[in-house]
Symmetry: C2
Subunit: 429 residues, 2 copies
């Protein structure tokens, strides 16, 4: 007998059907027992006659199949129910559940939720996070495919600490020392130069950052793109604007059900996302909020205040900060005058979700800028050699997937938006 | 002036247009110079009047823009050409090219090709490999999305050597020892149990294998799937059959141009892929090819001979070997009697491209099987605990992306189908 999914039952009213899934809830009354069965498509009430079947002892979250007749009904879940003829346990739960997952909210702390990840993910609200996250990723890919980008997959085992940072994980690679890639930066630039021109990658990146905050993960998913033959950095920001509009529209349309479950509000981008210079932002922080002492980069408080400003004064949940100081941006960033760069961050609801910019495409400028940053170009030959053979003007950006997800859904901690997070202390499950 | 792509020029006959790209070839005659310009969409012949412009000294692979009139013409590349009014070097090549990339074939050895990866990828034949590879990945995702699978992304930094193997890369994770995941096996099973039921992942996996062969990579892309509520392993094989048919059809249709360039022949799967038991395959090798001495697993020669058999006797480029010996399969594999398992490999043109099978879903059977395999269940508690709370019957498989690509395209070495390969000695570029 073919399995019917819960969301298909309405096509089988007054027919006999087999459903399979987990026992979500049991309520035993005198003559009947209600079993709520859950499969990947939803919940359904199943009614058992206690005189015929003893179902009251079945353990919650056991896997069962039920054969019964689909009847019209009035209940909280559906306009139908299943009148049970047969119920069979496929795989019983063996122990008391460590967390309760059939309540409206999963009332456990973050650690307990993550320690019991398989179970917590069965909760509708937790599950829905990753359905939304998938729509974001699909939107990213769809939009860029339409714009003639090529998807790439670049190595995460690299010989050098790719961007010269120190916060890299070390890997013993046979006789050699390797590192886990902090970003696909060098490779995506290389792939622009390799003739793909427009590339993107959705992949893991690794940061051996010591601090354990609500906004950092040590392994996270970066949605990277890089585009050749640009005229300037504004093109990159405009592309991100269009990309985000596309993604948010898709989330709104295809994720409606999940958004309801999560009570999340998707921001709309009416026209353009405001763009202000980093130096202006510093001025605004000083003037409007009395915040000083920022040297070339935002701190979390600064980001929150700038968001407040963007939201209240400019009416937008997003804001681009542009022209970051040269001394704070990586050596591959295109300078803009002596002090600034053609670069940007995108803040969303008080947190940086994107870093981007135009890159240097001329060999001699790159070498010069490396020296300016105190780096020895000889250590980067595998990278710089690409610039000897016709690298087009280019730029790109990276969006942190877990970050955009957790802010979109209004969570306090980025870990909630990671299927299996890795942080300063967590390597399990 | 807006950039026009080469494949759009036919819409602009007798108009002025700007094109941008790389200088693919230059031929200077007495009064005119032919420049072949290449962008991501193709090649076009540009004609320069030597009296007006001195273009003969432009270096190959420089990035240029050209403004000129699009004219109808007869040449090898297109039914049109560009009569150049202006040519401007955006970024000149600085040195002689280390490899020649404007010949029909890239006549360099594999190491030289990989050492000069940005340049070698500019060659049409090399570039086309990854266009085909992308169609394979897109086909994998599309088919599974239609079948209601959920895409997942699981951690590559794990605390235990996930499957108990020894060939794992070690990572220093702050105070802890971590490993690079050999497969998403445990996590995809967990996600089936977490209620997604049907999941897939396209992601990196890591194997610290010492041997340097033409079929191994130390970092490669695994296309994994796992499916809950199955009746048996045959379902998994049937799903793969349908999946492969879908992918091959998509490659044939959307990759036609690239297949022509690569002179590759896509196999057709007429009806079913033949399924023979592993033990039968051993008998066939003995009887037909006098090959003996295989103990529970195929060797490369065995795989090649079984392919020969499948191709010549059964008329198929693919063959499933089923019922692998229990002693050779991992502890999570569902036993079939005392000696065999509900498992399979799929061979394609003489190489294993898939390993799959049904998994154990009952806690007690899992613990027992771990002991049978000589493992201590206490070391796997984070994994086994999932089986206490209603794990449905399930199974899955993994397809090696580079392997299916290189065999589909008829290459001798899997490295050719890896954008940036990692092998026993190669960590660069």
């Amino acid at each position: 007998m073919k399995r019917i999914m819960v969301n298909e039952l309405s096509n089988h009213i007054n027919e006999k059907a087999q459903i399979k899934g987990w026992v979500h809830r049991i309520r035993k009354l005198k003559s009947i027992t209600f079993i709520i069965l859950r499969d990947r498509t939803g919940l359904v009430q199943c009614v058992v006659n206690n005189e015929e079947i003893n179902a009251g002892e079945i353990k919650l979250e056991s896997v069962v199949y039920i054969i019964g007749t689909v009847l019209e009904s009035k209940n909280n879940l559906n306009p139908f129910e299943v009148s049970v003829e047969k119920i069979n346990i496929i795989n019983s739960s063996l122990e008391e559940l460590p967390i309760e997952i059939n309540k409206e909210n999963l009332e456990v702390n973050l650690d307990t939720m993550l320690n019991n990840r398989m179970l917590s993910l069965r909760h509708e609200k937790v599950n829905s996070i990753f359905k939304i996250q998938n729509i974001i990723v699909e939107g990213f890919r769809e939009f860029l495919n339409q714009e003639n980008f090529t998807e790439i997959s670049t190595p995460k085992l690299v010989e050098g600490g790719a961007e010269g940072g120190t916060e890299v994980f070390k890997v013993q690679y046979f006789e050699k020392q390797a590192y886990l890639a902090q970003s696909p930066q060098f490779y995506k630039q290389m792939m622009v130069g390799a003739g793909f021109e427009r590339v993107y990658e959705v992949g893991h990146v690794y940061r051996a950052e010591e601090h354990n905050t609500n906004r950092h993960l040590n392994e996270y998913i970066s949605m990277d793109l890089e585009i050749g033959f640009i005229e300037g950095v504004e093109e990159i920001m405009s592309l991100e604007e269009k990309l985000l509009k596309y993604i948010l529209k898709k989330v709104t349309e295809e994720g409606e059900n999940y958004l309801d479950i999560l009570k999340a509000e998707v921001p709309s981008i009416k026209n353009k996302i405001p763009r202000i210079k980093f130096s202006e932002a510093i001025e605004i922080l000083k003037k409007e909020y009395n915040k000083t002492g920022l040297d070339g980069d935002m701190d979390p408080e600064g980001e929150k205040l700038i968001y407040k400003y963007a939201k209240e004064k400019l009416g937008c949940d997003f804001i681009f900060l542009t022209h970051y100081p040269r001394k704070k941006r990586p050596m591959y960033t295109m300078p803009c005058g002596n002090e600034e760069t053609h670069s940007f961050d995108l803040l969303f609801r008080g947190i940086e979700i994107t870093t981007g910019g135009q890159r240097i495409h001329e060999y001699s400028m790159l070498i010069e800028n490396m020296r300016y940053k105190g780096l020895n170009p000889e250590n980067y030959e595998s990278y710089t050699s690409n610039f000897k053979y016709g690298m087009p003007p280019h730029g790109g950006l990276a969006i942190g997937l877990e970050r955009i997800t957790f802010k979109l859904l209004g969570f306090e901690n980025v870990r909630e938006a990671s299927l299996i997070p890795r942080d300063r202390t967590r390597l399990m499950p």
